[in-house]
Symmetry: C2
Subunit: 185 residues, 2 copies
């Protein structure tokens, strides 16, 4: 199981600030899903908010609209292949989590699950903005709980030591960048 | 002067897809400014759109609202210190570009300038969304022209060889990550 400690809500934007790819997990009734999303960013500090694009054709969209909730999971390099597949396969073709052998744990404040193998987790509650959703597939949400693997994120700061245990950034067509060296100016 | 070749509009989202920090440049009348923004992301492919958070307290906000235009410049590691200072100083205290010794070139379709020392440029025209601007400081814009340094971006693909000539990601407090190694799964 992933290691996980609570992140102060006012520091939760730091999980997402450097622009990593995310997995959006969702659940409604007995259905659940996960999809990849690069188009996610912080929107406010306190209370923390995020913005994420969820295409109208996806099962995730249906589950997020039904439940008003999702989790932004921040995957590690180690599960990059799962991220790619989660962005290529539709949950409408069957239980994508089972198909991709994704294991999850329950979240604390939302029904959507936390995806194992990730390094950070933002539990989000949608702030309904029907016009944004309709015109731009854009969802605004408040972060209501946040978690991180304490071996790579503590005191509001990412610190990557191992090759496989770092965040990743999506380019296109199965190509990613690892998050590289940290530096200070 | 930065090398620069046109990027096809339908590939322009690839400049921003991996979540680099940006510089937002703006101009209205005789005034101009530049600020750092990590909270920027693609919003659509074709026509390409972006979303970016521009705080209501900034001079950039005033110039973007007056002109309806801005440029998202994607800086290189080499100018990280300028990015930090552009995010720390207000343009209300005097011409920030002059103070930071930032040189610019004219854009092709908007009045805001292109910042030298960057690797990619997205010329953007605001799609007015007064509610998003007021409630979330969130601007939606259409990308009307895009450019990249052809030594690091061609055929819709970033390819970084030199240490100083790569994109960067902002953490907080003067700390950045370089964009790391590319890999394919």
């Amino acid at each position: 199981m992933s290691q996980r400690t609570a992140v102060d809500l006012n520091k939760s934007y730091l999980l997402l600030n450097h622009g990593p790819v995310t997995l959006v997990s969702s659940a409604a009734g007995a259905r659940r899903n996960v999809m990849a999303a690069s188009w996610a960013m912080p929107l406010d500090f306190d209370p923390p908010k995020v913005a994420v694009v969820i295409d109208r054709s996806t099962l995730t969209r249906e589950l997020v609209e039904a439940s008003g909730e999702f989790v932004l999971n921040i995957p590690s390099l180690r599960i990059a292949e799962t991220v790619l597949r989660a962005g290529s396969v539709s949950g409408r073709e069957g239980d994508k989590l089972a198909a991709l052998k994704i294991t999850t744990s329950p979240a604390s404040a939302v029904g959507a699950p936390l995806v194992e193998g990730c390094l950070g987790w933002l539990e989000c509650r949608v702030i309904p903005e029907p016009e944004n959703q309709r015109k731009y597939d854009l969802f605004v949400a408040e972060v209501v709980a946040a978690w991180a693997d304490p071996t790579v994120f503590s005191n509001g700061r990412w610190s990557f030591q191992e090759e496989g245990k770092r965040t990743i950034h999506y380019r296109a067509g199965g190509h990613f960048f690892a998050t590289g060296d940290g530096f200070e100016v």
